[in-house]
Amino acid sequence: MSIGQVAGATANNCQNGRCKPPSTKPSRAGTGHFIMAVVLLVLGYFLIWPVILLLINSFNIATDWFVEPRTWGIAHWINAFEKPGVFSSLYNSILIWGLTMAISFPIGLAIAWALGRTKVPGSRWLEFSFWVAYMVPAIPTTIAWISLLDPDIGLINVVLAELPFFEQGPFNIFSIEGIVWANLMGHGIAIKVMLLTPAFRNMDASLEEAARASGAGNLRTAFRVTLPLMITPMVLVFALQTLKIFSSFETEFLLGLPFGFYVYSTKIFMLVRDEIPNYGEATVLASVTLLLILVIIPVQRWIIERRNYTTITGNFKPGLIDLGAWNYVVFGAISSLVVLLTVGPLCVLMLGSFMTRIGYFSLGYTLEHWIFVLNDPVFLKSLWTTLIIASTAAFGSPLLFSVVAYILVRTRFPGRGILDLIIWGSGAIPGILSGLGLLWVFLGTPGLNVLFGTIWALIIVVLLQGNTTGVNMMKGAFVQIGSDMEEAARVAGAGWVRTYFRIWLPLLMPTLVLLAVFNFVLAAGATANIILLASRDTLTLSILALELSTVGVSNREAASIVSIFILLLTVVVAIGVRACGVRLGVRHDMAIADAPINPSPPRAPVDR
């Protein structure tokens, strides 16, 4: 058996190299239609209707939508693209995205493989450290790197400038290279490791075992077996990151502006951030992302449907690759990266909260900011609101997304294409704009308008936010898992609900845990899409932090303290959720002794 054939060994419904998506027996047609109609209506209303409202209003040529009467025309569509520098900013966005992806994707993939498929010591904790890195907001990370790599005052530059072979500090964070570096150190690598590692953990060891039996080494097995089987999650992660090409802006904004470097998202942000925001032109610019979706969806479908990528079946065999002495080398390399990703920003956050003014060591330290924040009555309210909405998102969203993904991958309900379009489409518009669409939806819908200003409105939004990533990651997990176990359960008399909870959820647990943490982080850090819906009674910590650091208020020290609380909250919850998930999910350490590719004696599960 060749290695290439090994990858297709589990195919059970493929002919001539093409596979149909595995599917369960559909429910009665009527039920299927009804379920699909409800799902499309609910998700469409909350996810796509706000986008449609924005697009419709982009033809309202009033400069200030809230003041001037509606006048229809195409002026925004002409003016937006006639703005000087729009096309160069588009190019800049692609450049930054391309460079960041070219570096972060292979590194993220390699780390995810090492953590998910090899016996690197402490891999679970290392993986968790990437979650922590992801939890640190982008702004503190960027500020930390400015403090280190500013050409004039950056700590590293100052130290290097003292050395005999440097005339001045060699690094400049205010450059294209600097932006790429800050992106990598921010979420660039962490998000890929976060999203890909569970997929690697779901690998069936027997596939690699077969490759090894055919004489392939670890590297060859990884390239010829493991990676091809990982195409689904890789394509998804790639597509999801592509979607962010025109929406991430914090790092580019902080580092690009000083040297006159604008990216597309900066242009959109500036239009909306003005005292009299120009939502019309901002929507027009943001709608370019919708074009990307028209490319992403078919490509992603083509890749996923042309082969079978099942890695978990009823014959699933756990097991990990032993790299021998290299385990420790890899451990050292990943640990160093983790330190770089987490320690710097965390130290800056902590230190900054005690500084009289961030960045000015000569002004000394103070507890004044802590007293200010802890005495603010809004702070405790915000903490409580954040806890409620983030916990709801952590528990509710993964379940919801798993059902939607199940419908997309495992059923033949009509309208799946539209559902997929809704999921991708909702991720196309930046939160800063979709927040306005949601405001209109809540204010303009009888019944929903009573929820405006209450915590329920926020809960609905945070439950659904992150759906593009969530549903697609779940889709990837479903594609990896064979249908034989579900079929066996159904034959044994289990209903759909029982099968779902007894078969699917345990198999999906690593991805569910990941999504729980992901959604908690997302909900705890949500700002743009809920800021117009929150009242003073339902303010969240993230909105509080944003308000404290806005131009007018500019209290970054207090904002740092609020960010620390968000971070603490997320880390505590992440540890809890992870602990539960690890016990419930698929474990590779259960039968290590049985795996021929692992000659070492079994280890206690607690080691991992």
Binding site: D64, K83, S362, L443, N449, L544, G552, S554
Partner: protein
């Protein structure tokens, strides 16, 4: 004959009319005197009763909701605490950007949801967004406190408004602008070098290329400064065009970044002074920055940012708390709280009867001196909007 009769008739009529007028005037004078005598004594008693009623009603409502811009949300915490301590009515303040807060409030109002009572927002937003949408009510009818309604206690013996109807946007502070201030880093630029700068045009000379920083137009303060420059006799449109597009100035919309650039010396000159309170604090703490001034042809009063004015929303959810707040805020106690709790204040209350407190000397009004006050011109809103559009066009053209 006819003429005689007419004249005769006119004489009689005139005499009757004179008697009637005399009688009416006497009666009126007596009535007026009576009213004055009757009203003068119980006025304070009436006020006390009304004030007590107002406090009780406000306490019942429990809070006052304020849509605030940057300065009030950043600086007024102690002022609001004093109000809460005195009346037990809490003050809920929006703390984000004024633009977003206003968008939200306007969207709510379109959907007939009324969540805000008072606006402490810039005159620009008042004029361009709140007044045109009829979101505000006339402000003067809210005022009942004797200290507030006594106009002689206010600058110029009158109330000052910023909207074209002269009734919605009530100015309570203004900064004295009779110099053009700028800042520089004393470690990066010597006193001798800086002394070569004689006018604001000098910043645009090639010598200073790459050394000057400025507030971007996305920062409300940036656009306000350029608007001032456009209308200033010292600078004008050409200066603005050159400043924004000449390549000498590096801009940021983030005031903390601008501050770091100045203090650390990356861009060691801030040609147009903004966010002065923070910079003065840093200078006093010993950081190497210094404020300088250039002569200004015409001195004036300027309504600066969101700390300039107060207005009241129509359909306020807490009308009594709003009325109580407005009266207390504009009273001696409220205005003194602003002067005494905010360090290095770059504007001062339009009340004449309170101490200057922390108001910087440069921004204190000279008693008896009359200043030009263009923001209080009812046509200023429309004029500023036109200029702002022109500035934004110039600004847009530089973003490559």
């Amino acid at each position: 004959m006819t003429n005689f009769v007419q004249i005769n008739f006119n004489r009689h009529a005139k005499a009757r009319a004179e008697r009637a007028i005399r009688g009416f005037l006497s009666a009126a004078a007596l009535t007026l005197a009576g009213v004055v005598v009757l009203a003068a004594a119980p006025a304070s008693a009436d006020f006390k009763a009304d004030w007590a009623k107002l406090i009780a009603a406000a306490e019942k409502e429990g809070k006052v909701s304020i849509a605030a811009g940057g300065a009030p949300s950043r600086q007024y915490r102690h002022v609001f605490n004093k109000f809460y301590e005195k009346f037990g009515v809490s003050v809920e303040v929006s703390r984000g950007g004024a633009g977003r807060t206003t968008s939200r409030v306007l969207a709510e109002r379109k959907a007939k949801k009324y969540t805000m009572d008072i606006a402490l927002i810039s005159v620009r937003i008042n004029n361009q967004r709140l007044v045109p949408t009829n979101a505000l009510i006339p402000f003067e009818p809210l005022l009942i406190h004797p200290e507030v309604i006594d106009k002689s206690k206010w600058y110029g013996g009158k109330y000052w408004y910023g909207d074209k109807y002269l009734k919605h946007t009530f100015f309570y502070t203004a900064g004295v602008i009779d110099k053009n201030f700028f800042w520089y880093n004393t470690k990066k630029i010597s006193a001798a070098e800086i002394s070569t700068i004689k006018s604001q045009w000098d910043f645009l000379k090639p010598k200073w290329k790459g050394k000057v920083q400025g507030g971007a137009m996305e920062d409300p303060s940036g656009i306000r400064q350029m608007n001032d420059a456009w209308q200033s006799a010292d600078r004008g449109p050409d200066w603005v065009r050159k400043y924004l597009t000449g390549g000498n100035v590096t801009f940021s919309a983030d005031r903390r970044i601008l501050e770091t650039w100045l203090v650390k010396g990356r861009y060691p000159i801030k040609a147009v002074s903004t966010a002065e309170e923070d910079l003065r604090t840093l200078a006093k703490k010993g950081l190497p920055i210094k404020q300088m001034s250039l002569p200004k042809k015409v001195g004036l009063l300027r309504a600066s940012g969101s700390g300039c004015c107060i207005s009241a929303f129509a359909n306020a959810p807490h009308p009594n708390a709003a009325k109580l707040f407005a009266n207390w805020f504009l009273s001696k106690e409220g205005q003194t709280a602003i002067h005494t709790t905010i360090p290095n204040l770059a504007r001062s209350s339009l009340r004449n009867d309170i101490p200057f407190g922390h108001v910087e000397k440069d921004h204190r009004r000279t008693p008896g001196k009359k200043y030009s006050y263009p923001d209080a011109d009812p046509k200023s809103g429309a004029r500023n909007k036109k200029i702002q559009n022109k500035i934004m066009k110039i600004w847009g053209s530089r973003q490559r």
